[in-house]
């Protein structure tokens, strides 16, 4: 009896260690990849910054799709809320980049609260349809309110002040990229804590079996709503980063297309894993950029072929493929579908 308890204890300790090791290693890899991007592609930093902004959006989708099992095709609503809030604030004199990120996060969180309240009333397919309706409504609202948003011409003419008063957001985009990378790493660490916390576990539990969680005495709705708000803040930060680095906010940032595309990136990388969200975004956008530069006229076919290949070879996404290749590093949380 004692022996069993002991061995169990040993197992949990070693499990915790692999967890730590895995996360530390993962984080190092992200920073290394980010630095490699900076040194290897000094001429593509605007693209890489765009990848980071979208990566934040994909992470935010992962939080509610991958960890809570809530289907959504309207996540760009939250991203757009952050982008427009940052843009409008900047136009009205708040030009400090970090403040703008906070404003974007707040706007995204608020939009997440509203969107979550509506979407969580429904389940399954109805939920998905609701999310599409919400993003379309937000798109139309942004189009209609052209006095504030610039409508289909885009919100332009604002310029964020230099970071820390010295580093400008210029043509080469070094500031924007390093700023974005730091933001991404920070958000990633925070999210790692969130998904590993009891709250994160509860979310996963709800995803697996909401009825059981309910009968255990937990309230499902407030838990999911909380995740929606966190997800909104993350997406909002992505939007704000895009607004700061581009200095234009277009209607595309609240579009169904963006929502759908980022869901595709998530599926490509692997649902329910924060690494999957990052890998999916980098591979998808990198590949898209690569083939569209080679053949600007027929590159879509290549992207389609890649997607089909991944779905056939690695149904669990690319991160699932890595897990299979390195079984020792596999997360013992068992959250993968």
């Amino acid at each position: 009896m004692q022996a069993i308890a002991k061995s169990r204890q040993a197992a949990t300790v070693s499990g915790g260690n692999t967890h730590l090791l895995r996360d530390g290693l993962g984080l190092l890899l992200i920073i290394a990849a980010g630095a490699a991007g900076y040194w290897l592609f000094p001429d593509n930093l605007a693209l890489l910054t765009r990848v980071i902004a979208v990566a934040l959006l994909v992470l935010s989708i992962d939080l509610i799709v991958g960890y809570c099992g809530v289907a959504t095709l309207g996540q760009a609503t939250l991203y757009g809320a952050g982008a427009y809030a940052a843009g409008m604030a900047c136009l009205r004199g708040v030009t400090e980049p970090m403040t703008l990120i906070v404003i974007g996060a707040a706007a995204g969180a608020m939009a997440g609260l509203v969107m979550g309240t509506i979407m969580l009333r429904a389940h399954g397919l109805a939920q998905l349809v609701l999310s599409i309706a919400i993003v379309q409504l937000a798109h139309e609202a942004a189009n209609k309110a052209s006095a504030y948003t610039g409508g289909s011409d885009g919100l332009a003419g604002f310029s964020p002040s230099p970071l820390f008063g010295t580093f400008e957001f210029d043509l080469w985009g070094r500031t924007a990229y390093l700023f974005g990378l730091a933001l991404l790493v920070l958000v990633f660490i925070l999210l790692k804590f969130v998904v590993a916390s009891p709250f994160g576990m509860l979310c996963r539990g709800i995803k697996e079996d909401p009825v059981r969680i309910r009968s255990m005495g937990a309230f499902v709705f407030p838990v999911l709503l909380k995740m929606f708000i966190i997800s909104g803040a993350v997406a909002g930060m992505g939007g704000a980063l895009a607004a700061i680095s581009t200095q234009v906010v277009g209607l595309d940032s609240v579009s169904f297309e963006l929502s759908a595309n980022s869901l595709v990136m998530l599926v490509l990388g692997g649902l329910g894993s924060l690494y999957g969200a990052l890998i999916g975004t980098v591979i998808f956008m990198g590949f898209e950029h690569f083939v569209s530069a080679i053949n600007p006229f027929h590159w879509m076919t290549m992207v389609g072929a890649l997607l089909i290949a991944v779905v056939l070879v690695a149904p669990g996404g690319l991160s699932g493929l890595i897990d299979r290749a390195l079984p020792g590093m596999r997360d013992k949380g068992g959250q993968r579908p």
């Binding site: 290897l40 605007a46 693209l47 765009r50 289909s152 011409d153 277009g250 690569f290 006229f297």
Partner: protein
């Protein structure tokens, strides 16, 4: 992941090596929608560029010209900025051109001064772009520019009351405002203004409102393509045409590549625009021949091609003036006031606004000898500037 990046870097190095081999090459980066739903417009950009290079050679004063195309399938300012940045920093282009959508142009303008690169816009048609940077030159048109003459024409043709029906987005509202201003200045009255959501497919309720308004004519603006098709069809089927209610619109609605789909239903539509493929001049004949070859058939040829053709003319003149050196301000200064005969007729670059001054033509959709419909130019309004820009 790092393996992939290494591969990319290796290929990049290879490409860079092959380019460095030819010494004096001036690169021009063209951004446009080359795939997706607007691919035809992008193809017309390409056709215009290729036609110009076929007719005028691929070098200026001994400097070879190399064109690099980058795809931007739909309005996406963030991607637009990334593409422009890459073209300037990595591919070392000296000139940027193209740009179909307004927000995409807005995203590029803040880069130009630092990049020391002029931007020649082949299409994006909102007036305000020109005020964003002194290094922008535009060879297309603005919606206000093509629409304004229509107000006078309507009054001349005895139309007193008009109902406007436009798609509810930037260009639609521009068109509504420009028409209303010109029409009311000429003594007409706009009795009602309808703004239709962009995704409208069923136009019969709109047609009922047109009928109920007792207007003499309907002024319309919709994005070209399927929506226009649906609108014109509804106009015919609900009997408005038979009831004698006239149809007025800027020429985007009857662009040549849409005419076959519109069929006989389009006959008699009155539009104003800066270019018709049927324009009768030796310059246009040469252009149409070369561009139709590049685009893959005359049926595919449309107005973005002429914007690109003249855009290339401006870029060639810039290269000539700077003799291959990268000096954006000097290049732009050199084309201020530049006048030439374009396939669309006599044009010039306004030295104040850097926007093109051109003739606007009133056209009627008519049936040609070969049984195909075409835009027949019936009246000319010479040397129209953009009324949408604030006059200095």
């Amino acid at each position: 992941m790092s393996g992939r990046k290494l591969l990319c870097a290796a290929i990049g190095a290879l490409l860079a090596g092959s380019v460095a081999a030819s010494a004096d090459t001036i690169k021009v980066g063209i951004i446009g929608p080359f795939s997706g739903p607007f691919a035809l417009q992008g193809k017309n950009f390409q056709a215009g560029v290729e036609a110009y290079m076929a007719l005028n050679g691929k070098s200026v004063k001994g400097h070879d010209i190399e064109v690099i195309y980058r795809d931007l399938p739909a309005a996406n300012p963030q991607q637009s900025r990334a593409l422009a940045q890459e073209l300037v920093v990595k591919d070392k282009v000296q000139y940027l051109g193209g740009v179909y959508f307004t927000p995409d142009a807005m995203a590029i303008t803040p880069l130009l001064t630092q990049a020391n690169t002029p931007l020649v816009i082949f299409n994006a048609a909102t007036s305000a772009i020109m005020t964003q940077s002194p290094l922008v030159v535009r060879t297309s048109f603005t919606t206000a520019q093509t629409t304004t003459p229509l107000g006078k024409i309507a009054v001349e043709r005895g139309i007193k009351k008009v109902i406007t029906a436009v798609s509810d987005y930037g260009p639609g509202i521009d068109a509504e405002v420009a028409f209303k201003k010109a029409f009311e200045a000429a003594g007409g009255q706009v009795v009602e203004s309808v703004r239709m959501p962009l995704n409208t497919n069923d136009f019969s309720p709109i047609m009922q409102r047109v009928r109920d308004s007792k207007a003499d004519a309907v002024f319309a603006f919709l994005p070209s393509g399927p929506t226009t098709l649906g609108f014109v069809k509804a106009y015919n089927e609900t009997g408005l045409k038979q009831a004698g209610i006239k149809f007025l619109a800027p020429g985007d609605l009857t662009q040549e590549s849409d005419l076959p789909a519109l069929g006989d239903g389009a006959l008699g539509l009155l539009t104003t625009f800066h270019y018709a493929v049927s324009h009768d001049s030796p310059e246009n004949k040469k252009f149409v021949e070369a561009a139709a070859k590049a685009v893959g058939g005359i049926d595919q040829l449309s107005f973005p091609a002429v914007g690109a053709f003249d855009g290339m003319h401006v870029i060639y003149k810039m290269i000539e003036a700077t003799d291959g050196k990268q000096d954006a301000q000097k290049a732009v200064n050199a084309v201020k006031g530049l006048a030439w005969t374009s396939p669309r007729g006599p044009v010039s670059i306004d030295s104040e606004t850097r926007h093109i001054t051109e003739n606007i033509y009133l056209r009627e959709v008519a049936k040609g000898a070969d049984g195909k419909t075409y835009n027949k130019e019936i009246q000319t309004f010479p040397n129209q500037k953009d009324p949408g820009l604030p006059t200095p």
